[in-house]
Symmetry: C2
Subunit: 183 residues, 2 copies
Amino acid sequence: MEFDQVVKNRRSIRTFARREVPDDVVTDVIGCALHAPSSMNGQPWCFVLVRSPGTKRRLSEIKDKYCPPEKRTYPAGFLEEAPVIVVTCVERARAYDRGLESGVLATGHLLLAAANVGLTGVYLSAYKADTPQVADDIRAVLRLPPNMDPITIVPLGYPGSDPEPKTLRSLDEVVFHEAFGER
Amino acid sequence: MEFDQVVKNRRSIRTFARREVPDDVVTDVIGCALHAPSSMNGQPWCFVLVRSPGTKRRLSEIKDKYCPPEKRTYPAGFLEEAPVIVVTCVERARAYDRGLESGVLATGHLLLAAANVGLTGVYLSAYKADTPQVADDIRAVLRLPPNMDPITIVPLGYPGSDPEPKTLRSLDEVVFHEAFGER
């Protein structure tokens, strides 16, 4: 697909069609994520694919357990309906103190690459800066070693509904010249 | 351009051709960044375009001042040669505690959108978690109010050299199934 079209088509849809997503489709999508920039070109990422219902349920429970009150309008139960979940992690020694950024950039690529092949995904965080227990719980579920930090959880599937309309902020509102507030 | 081609073409090049980048090209690129996902769809970003030589120099000096020893192989002086610099910031009240992630996702979109129109950009961080002075110094230069957090600094220009070859990690090395280490 044309790049502009992919960017405009990508949306976060939380209902999935009852249609499998084969491993080779998922690995093609991850193949795009490998091209993301990373600090010192450390490419610190790895990706754990989850298809087991038990593991999906445990990830969903962790997300709900630590969900702040203002975000409870989006419960994590839909993770159990996703054909596959990709958990993006980073290895600290390769990350040059920018593991979070590198993991987020890889996830951004992954979400766009998913849209390019007709999949939808939703960005969910896999850690909280002030609550290390979130990452520890996810480490336990995925048997991640202590030097691997989980960064994001992305359920992937073919969309089961149309996206809600989304209104973007205007360029006039968000672009400044030379200093904040200067149009 | 086709999405896959954009992803493969995007590279971090630190030398720029002596060719202007008009404002409408930059705002088209930022237009793509507005489509990035953000927590609770808060779209917390704004973008400060810098063309003044004095401001470019001050940003370059801040980057070098706080550069950790292991990254001094990449001095920031090349910022002064970029036709334009985009500083991505996020507004805390719109960010739902995920301002960093939203700013990084917007920057990832911006870098790909730049590649789509033949520009090159380099991802530079505009803050350090353990050194709030970095963000404060950038706030002073760009007259950002205290509720705006600078996240990234991206110089943009037409490439002035070919990129070095880049070797990606293999999918076999970084993809696991159900748990870390399981192929």
